[in-house]
């Protein structure tokens, strides 16, 4: 079981601190939520963990590996996958191709291998297919397998986004507002997926979400960010009664 530790991370954009000395420890096997008002630095933090930004100061470790300066494609091979806030899908490809592509990048075999070890390559291909089908099954995407992603509805696209992250077989899944813009039923579906991922797949989940009702219900651990700083952390009920957090959300009297 691998810990993700963010130690003393500061991220600066031209004199403006997006994150200031952030310390976070993500324990394996649980759901950790990161909440905070708009512009608090939640997505910046995920960007640091997934390698899209590199911290100005501070370190990020996943187990013993140092992720601080790793590039996104390196991190994707370490068992960390991410679903984006705004849909970042290959709109010109079908749902199946979106997922298979993620799978192919993960398990590298070259054209050379495909020619020389034909049997091995075709077995791997079959395994890839089987895994992708398992993910499609789990995310309830069967009706859309061959459909072009760009033509699907918003809610389904959000699910494809999560599914694509899952095909990388992550140990740690970063979800950036997976329920934004969804209606109640769609949200309930996503909550069910997240809980199953934790229980049945044993995946560690980091959730950035604005719907506080959902966050309080399903999180094991919560971190609250405001203006790039961690202003509170703990179990849901601890965070809910933290005066600093209440100030940040509701404002001082």
């Amino acid at each position: 079981m691998t810990h993700l530790t963010v130690s003393d991370v500061t991220l600066t954009f031209g004199g403006l601190n997006a994150l200031t000395r952030v310390n976070i420890s993500i324990e394996p096997g649980i759901i950790t939520s990161i909440i905070g008002p708009n512009g608090a630095g939640k997505t910046s933090l995920l960007n640091c963990v997934s390698g899209f930004y590199h911290p100005t100061v501070g370190k990020i470790h996943y187990g013993k590996r140092n992720l601080t300066h790793a590039s996104p494609h390196q991190i994707s091979t370490m068992g960390i996958a991410r679903a984006f806030q705004n849909l970042e899908l290959f709109r010109g490809l079908s749902v199946l191709d979106n997922l298979l592509l993620a799978r192919h990048q993960n398990l590298k075999y070259s054209i050379f291998h495909a020619v020389i070890f034909f049997g091995k390559a075709s077995r791997m291909e079959a395994e890839n297919r089987a895994y992708v089908e398992k993910v499609i099954d789990f995310m309830e995407l069967e009706p859309y397998r061959k459909k072009m992603v760009g033509n699907l509805s918003y809610g389904v696209q959000k699910r494809v986004e999560v599914a694509r992250a899952l095909t990388l077989e992550p140990k740690l899944l970063l979800l950036d507002e997976p329920m934004a813009g969804m209606n109640i039923e769609e949200k309930e579906d996503i909550v069910r997926f997240i809980l199953d991922l934790k229980k049945e797949w044993g995946i560690t989940i980091v959730l950035v979400e604005h719907d506080l009702g959902v966050v309080m219900d399903i999180s094991d651990q919560i971190y609250v960010l405001d203006f790039g700083e961690v202003i509170g952390s703990g179990k849901p009920h601890e965070v809910a009664s933290n005066p600093k957090v209440i100030d940040a959300y509701i404002g001082e009297e």
Binding site: S50, G51, F52, S71, P72, H73, S76, T77, A81, R82, F84, N86, L87, E88, L89, F90, R91, G92, L93, D97, L101, A102, H104, Q105, N106, I111, Y154, R164, A165, T167, L168
Partner: protein, 297 residues
């Protein structure tokens, strides 16, 4: 009527070479949004390398054609690695300025060699009597040129539709963030796009050199001719480049075949493609196959 078919045939010959020239340009734009102004220079370089290997070194032309593609493959890849890699994320206008600089440098280098000013022509390695069917004739060089062009275009199409590398290149052009998040190295894909553009440019140059002769001005002007082609096809569509290339070739041949010499007109073959381009863009501002982006947040 046979005059009409003759024009169609020569239109397809010219058009398919436009298509192959435009292909490399589209590859680079599609993956990295860079307009490569120096594309015509790479086409010319491909023709020169093929010629030098065939005539000066004495390698059979089929091999030298192939070797020149390999050389430009690595040449273009190193151009990306040395000059363009460090510009990722910079404003697009700076990147275009770099390709303009690249054009001047390659121009300068080529003027240092005999190819810059003199004319050469490939020794004929195919039968010289043209193929004639029902009054329509096509030279062997043109015939082989068209066949090789279509084979190359077919190969590229297969590569982008089916191969994992091809699909990851499409993925990068579709959404870079997502591509990175699933483990695609975006800089490597950029390098590969340049390499394949170099390869296709050398192929176009080799075929063109055989048909029109080796003349630097003629060859590098193809870098300019690809502009109306790719704009008509939609800057980021490979299918568009092929279709638009052939349309442009046909328009050019029909214009100079039917308009020149009547009503005191001449040189319409040069102008008509642009006129038609303007008219089509009035109705399809993103080109025939271009993507009209709608941002949904």
């Amino acid at each position: 009527m046979s005059y009409f078919f003759q024009l169609v045939v020569s239109g397809i010959v010219v058009g398919s070479i436009y298509a192959l020239s435009a292909l490399g340009f589209v590859l680079i734009y599609k993956s990295s949004r860079v307009l490569n102004i120096a594309h015509g220079q790479i086409i010319a370089a491909g023709a020169f390398i093929t010629y030098a290997l065939t005539v000066m070194v004495g390698i059979p032309i089929y091999f030298s054609f192939f070797i020149s593609m390999v050389i430009t493959f690595f040449l273009a890849m190193s151009v990306e690695r040395i000059f363009l890699r460090r510009l990722i994320g910079e404003p697009i206008i700076s990147v275009i300025m770099v390709t303009i600089g690249l054009m001047s440098i390659i121009d300068g280098l080529i003027y240092l060699t005999p190819f810059g000013t003199e004319n050469f022509s490939f020794p004929s390695f195919l039968p010289t009597t043209p193929i004639s069917v029902g009054g329509v004739s096509i030279s062997w060089t043109q015939m082989v040129g068209v066949l090789v062009t279509f084979a190359m275009i077919g190969g590229f199409t297969w590569f982008f539709k089916k191969s994992t590398i091809g699909i990851s290149m499409r993925a990068v052009s579709d959404d870079q963030l997502a591509a990175m998040s699933i483990g695609i190295s975006v800089p490597r894909v950029f390098g590969l796009a340049w390499a394949m553009a170099g390869l296709s440019a050398a192929a176009a140059g080799g075929i063109l050199g055989n048909i029109t002769g080796i003349n630097f001005d003629t060859l590098h002007s193809f870098g300019i001719v690809v502009f109306p082609v790719v704009i008509l096809g939609g800057l980021d569509s490979i299918l568009g480049a092929v279709v638009a290339g052939i349309i442009m070739g046909l328009i050019q041949q029909f214009a100079s075949g039917y308009l020149d010499g009547n009503w005191g007109l001449s040189g319409t073959g040069e102008i008509m493609p642009y006129v038609i381009l303007l008219v089509i863009l009035l109705f399809k501002p993103h080109g025939l196959f271009g993507i009209h982006e709608i941002e949904r947040v």
